[in-house]
């Protein structure tokens, strides 16, 4: 594929890894690899689609900006891979090798076991048992390690988890089988033990794979927003520095439409700043020379120079991060359903095994025979189906949600999500889109000519309002008018000539709120107001929440008037002017009253609340902090992701409970048999695989869970 690009690697080859979040299909991969391959000096480019990265091998002379430009020219935004985000450790990988060993040994031992069950006798049986032991014991030791270590760490903390009964059962069964093999016994349990490990590892690997995939998605989003700033160098040049390298005293040049990477003080220029991400306040704040501006705020109007006063740990952002650190208790205290089940299950199983042993001893079966029956109970009750019951259901549900653009960070998020009975919604950016959109009624009223002129003008500017206007008009099928002598004057607007008439898109002389004025010489000016709008489908989504028995309310940091307006249009209860601490307290109050709270928010100011709530969801447009703190991230504009996620989580938990019932029901049948001493390795193997298949089949019903 990269053959034409391969050249002699004479110059010292270097490797650069670029993050390209926009790749998602085969043709993207081909474009990126060919585009980079065409850059002189590049010897090879290889895309990793899962990680949304491309690894470029090139001569030392090729620089990073050249590669980024080459990708930019074919329409892909890219960034060098950040150090702190360097390839997160995969959770699946360490499980793959044990899984393969367990599968290999299980199949081969099973083959030998089938011969024994078919009636192999005497020396042949002994030989087959010895072969099984030779394969089985090392395989069990190797493949069982994930369980043994986890069980050991649980026991040393004086708690128990699912892995404790598994480890005890596996160890005892292996020991018994070895003893039987040495003493020419009739039955060895290597096959059943390996099958158990195989099923459990498969469940574990599915669970880990789900976490890996969701994390890869969220990481790709995080990388997209690598913050940084253009810094004025002492020589008067401009240099782009990542946020980490900014130090107080530097001067940043901030174009309109950019976000501040550090706290600072304006040295030249004046502009309005949108602080909604930081405080929730929707009205832009005017800042002049000498005024302080905060990291994370968006420059709306004019380019300004800002002297850095605090960076990194000193910023307001870092303060919010500290609040968040202190507020994860609810979540760390949450015990996953599988572990809760095993807390009941393990003592019950061990009691049954002990009773069996005692019973047979009293009945006079002898030490060896009693031990065999007791271990048969342990093996038959080993939570094979239980180990699959939770992960398979969650993996299927998460896959269904991911297809709908909802990324779930881990399985416990779904479990917590299913218990939710209250939703607190942030206003700006969550309930609303969080960006100014032109008033639809005014756009409808614009004559075709005027709309064409407006689109022509707006498309010449990178100002956020112009871009929003251009997007809205283009979306209505307007074609841009042909303009000449286009000029953009920073902070004033764009002017041009259209059919010999002067036209302009400029800041209005006087307007309440955000607006832009469209001038066409000889006609009265049009005033186009901009406002943040509710997300599409917000009313339907809120109604569906009500149908699910979940009570939504607004919790916003914005001013009371703006919150009241949204509260009126949605009919929700609302609390405005809430600081990050207030939001945390509001959640704590609800939790104290026995409610399970879902926090939906996007801003930095929501971070502590997202971390404190029982479950949390953030839109893909949220701040880094919001996306990192939230359990679920939804892409796209629609708010229907929230009720969809809740109902999918509930259906998942319903299926998980059904799985538990089936797994336990199977035990109710099998345990009496085992206690009576009627279970042979054959029966154990058949029962184990049947119950696992039933649980998997039941979980597959969740494929359509995200409707």
């Amino acid at each position: 594929m990269t053959a034409p690009a391969r050249q002699l690697d004479s110059a010292a080859p270097e490797t650069t890894v670029l993050v390209v979040p926009g790749m998602h299909c085969a043709s993207c991969m081909a474009k990126v690899e060919r585009g980079l391959g065409a850059v002189p000096g590049v010897s090879a480019a290889r895309v990793n689609l899962t990680a949304r990265q491309v690894r470029v091998e090139h001569e030392a002379g090729v620089t990073m900006p050249q590669l980024v430009d080459a990708l930019g020219n074919i329409g892909f935004a890219s960034q060098p891979r950040g150090e702190e985000l360097d390839a997160p450790a995969s959770a699946v990988k360490p499980l793959l090798a044990p899984l393969a060993v367990a599968a290999f040994a299980c199949m081969n031992v099973m083959l030998l076991s089938v011969s024994i069950w078919s009636g192999a006798e005497g020396a042949t049986r002994d030989l087959f048992h010895w072969l099984s032991a030779a394969m089985g014991v090392p395989a069990i030791l190797y493949a069982g390690r994930p369980f043994f270590t986890s069980a050991w760490s649980a026991l040393s903390r004086r708690t128990t988890n699912m892995d404790v009964p598994i480890s005890i059962g596996v160890t005892l069964a292996t020991g018994l089988s070895l003893w039987e093999t040495v003493h020419h016994g009739e039955e060895a349990w290597f096959d059943g033990t390996l099958m158990l490990l195989l099923f459990l590892l498969a469940g574990r690997a599915l669970d880990a794979g789900m976490r890996d995939r969701a994390r890869a998605g969220v990481d790709a989003l995080l990388r997209q927003a690598a913050p940084g700033a253009m810094v004025v160098t002492p020589g008067g040049g401009l240099d782009w520095l990542p946020a980490l390298d900014l130090v107080p005293g530097m001067t940043m040049r901030l174009a309109a439409g950019e976000r501040l990477a550090a706290d600072g003080e304006i040295v030249t220029g004046e502009s309005r700043f949108d602080q909604s991400l930081l405080t929730g306040e929707s009205a832009p704040v005017l800042a002049r020379v000498g005024d302080a501006v905060l990291a994370g705020t968006l420059n709306l109007e004019n380019p300004v120079d800002v002297r850095v006063t605090a960076a990194g740990q000193g910023t307001t952002l870092a303060e919010i991060a500290r609040l968040m650190d202190a507020s994860g208790q609810v979540r760390s205290a949450y015990v996953r359903i599988a572990d809760r089940a095993s807390r009941l299950y393990a003592p019950a199983v061990h009691t049954l095994a002990a009773l069996t042993f005692a019973g047979w001893m009293i009945a006079g079966a002898g030490l060896h025979q009693s031990l065999v029956y007791a271990i048969a109970v342990l093996i038959i009750t080993c939570p094979c189906a239980l180990g699959l019951a939770v992960p398979v259901a969650q993996v299927v549900a998460c896959g269904a949600l991911m297809k709908r653009g909802i990324m779930v960070k881990d399985g416990s998020a779904l479990e917590r999500m299913a218990t939710i009975d209250r939703v607190l919604l942030d206003k700006t950016g969550t309930l609303t889109l969080g960006r100014p959109l032109p008033d639809g009624a005014v756009l409808d009223a614009l004559p075709d000519d005027a709309a064409a002129v407006a689109l022509g003008l707006a498309s010449h500017s990178r100002h956020p309002l112009s871009r929003a206007l251009a997007e809205a008009l283009a979306g209505r099928g307007v074609k841009p008018a042909l303009l000449t002598q286009v000029q953009e004057e920073a902070g004033q607007g764009v002017r041009a000539l259209w059919n010999e008439r002067s036209v302009a898109l400029r800041r209005p002389d006087a307007a309440s709120g955000i607006a832009t004025a469209l001038d066409i010489a000889g006609e009265p000016a049009w005033l186009i107001p901009f406002a943040d709008r509710l997300r599409p489908g917000a009313d339907a989504a809120l109604a569906r929440l009500g149908g699910l028995g979940v009570q939504p309310a607004i919790l916003s940091g914005d001013n009371a008037a703006a919150v009241a307006e949204v509260a009126r249009s949605t009919g929700l209860e609302a609390q405005g002017e809430a600081s990050p601490q207030d939001k945390q307290q509001a959640i704590a109050r609800l939790q104290a009253a026995g409610h399970k709270v879902l926090m939906a928010g996007d801003g930095l100011n929501d971070g502590p609340a997202l971390a404190a709530a029982d479950a949390s969801i953030a839109p893909g447009t949220a701040s880094d902090v919001g996306r990192q703190a939230a359990d679920l991230v939804f892409l796209g504009d629609g708010l229907d992701a929230i009720p969809r996620a809740i109902s999918a989580a509930r259906r998942t938990m319903k299926v998980v409970r059904e799985n538990f019932v089936m797994a336990i029901g199977y035990n109710l049948l099998a345990v009496p048999l085992a206690m009576a001493g009627h279970v042979t390795p054959l029966i154990a193997a058949v029962a184990m695989s049947t119950s696992s298949l039933v649980v998997i089949a039941n979980s597959l019903r969740l494929v359509g869970a995200a409707r």
Binding site: M1, P4, C25, A26, S27, M29, A30, R34, V47, N48, L49, T50, A51, K93, L96, A97, A100, V101, F104, M107, N108, L111, T124, L127, L131, M135
Partner: protein
């Protein structure tokens, strides 16, 4: 019985070969990019001028 003496080592050897092949693939990074591998088959090899 004599047949078994040959067949069992052969069966185990073949299975072991599969296991070794899997470990080799794991080490070589064949499982690093499953999504990419799935998509890569759709890429056309010819350099089309207007692709």
């Amino acid at each position: 019985m004599n047949g078994l003496a040959i067949l069992i080592p052969v069966a185990l050897g073949l299975g072991g070969l599969g296991l070794v092949a899997f470990f080799w693939a794991l080490k070589r990074g064949q499982f690093e990019d499953l999504d990419g591998a799935a998509a890569r088959i759709l890429i056309d090899d010819e350099e089309e001028p207007r692709a």
